[in-house]
């Protein structure tokens, strides 16, 4: 990539943070959703163990 691309016609300090923040929001959404689901699964497993159905 040449310098013209990275300089974005002089607007690089606005354009790149804009795309970087978008990437961060997408990554946070995916990470937090997966973490939320994993935590819920763990809670359900614990509830199963408390109920005595999870001996292995």
């Amino acid at each position: 990539m040449d310098n013209t691309f990275w300089s974005m016609g002089g607007y690089a300090r606005y354009v790149w943070p804009c795309f970087a923040f978008a990437c961060a929001v997408l990554a946070w959404n995916l990470w937090s959703a997966r973490r939320y689901h994993a935590a819920a699964r763990l809670r359900a497993q614990r509830a199963l163990q408390m109920a005595g159905g999870g001996e292995s």
């Binding site: 016609g9 804009c18 795309f19 923040f21 929001v25 959703a33 939320y36 359900a44 199963l48 159905g53």
Partner: protein, 250 residues
């Protein structure tokens, strides 16, 4: 048709369907976002007035449209839950709220970054910006209200009521540039008549919009699985699902 609708009220069906759909939505989102990014950043020509600064449109417009779409989904799910007492509606609403809030924040931040070189300021109390900020407060309010009650059912009902009433802000955000004098430009793609953009700039924008929508669908499905598990963890089908999962693992 009604059989399909009734199935959507069944937590085990929703959990299974959400799990099956995630990889398809994520794969399609990656393709759409990949094309949109490459075309939008490297191939589309610079705007004759705004130069390369216009490329922020490829993040700002999809996130702003998504902020309104997610709120509409959340309000519709809340209304369904309130009217027909379908618990999955509350789960969809709870799953959608943090996603919508994050995309509203993204729309505000990217709009602010775009506003600085074009308007000379990061922020103005303009009708579009102010109504979008109110949308963010509504998302935060719905999430806070849901967790403010010790009884989760009361929290669900209170949050659903606020989400349903708050939907009145969605047309206000969209039409604010028509109803009042605004610094913000008018609608570019979501309007009556043809979009006011050249095809070389429009296609990457449509692709990014599609990518954001598919990404939202994927993340909603993942969060929805967590919500359904949290709400149903004492039920027989969840116990069976977890037992089956353990057996498959071992």
């Amino acid at each position: 048709m009604w059989t399909w609708f009734y199935k959507l009220a069944s937590p085990p069906y929703v959990y299974g369907a959400a799990a099956a759909l995630v990889p398809w939505f994520l794969g399609a989102a990656a393709l759409a976002l990949g094309y949109g990014l490459i075309d939008g950043l490297a191939i589309a020509p610079p705007d004759y007035q705004q130069g390369d600064a216009f490329r922020m449109i490829y993040v700002h417009v999809p996130s702003a449209l998504l902020s309104l779409t997610v709120y509409t989904v959340m309000a519709a799910a809340s209304a369904v839950a309130l009217i027909w007492r379908i618990k999955v509606g509350h789960a969809v609403s709870a799953a959608a709220a943090p996603i919508g809030a994050s995309f509203t924040l993204l729309a505000l931040v990217t709009g602010s970054l775009w506003g600085r070189p074009m308007w000379g300021t990061y922020w103005a109390w303009d009708p579009r910006l102010t109504s979008e900020l109110i949308l963010l407060f509504l998302y935060v309010g719905v999430m806070s209200l849901r967790s403010a009650f010790e009884d989760p059912e009361r929290g669900d009902r209170a949050a659903a009521l606020l989400a349903t009433v708050g939907v009145v802000n969605v047309p206000i955000v969209h039409f604010s540039v028509v109803w009042w004098n605004s610094l913000h430009q008018g609608a570019t793609i979501v309007k009556l008549g043809a979009p006011s953009m050249a095809g070389s700039m429009l296609w990457p924008l449509l692709s990014m919009w599609l990518g954001f929508m598919l990404f939202f669908a994927a993340v909603l499905c993942i969060r929805l699985q967590g919500e359904v598990l949290n709400r149903e963890r004492q039920t027989k089908w969840v116990r069976e699902a977890i037992m089956v999962r353990r057996e498959v693992k071992s």
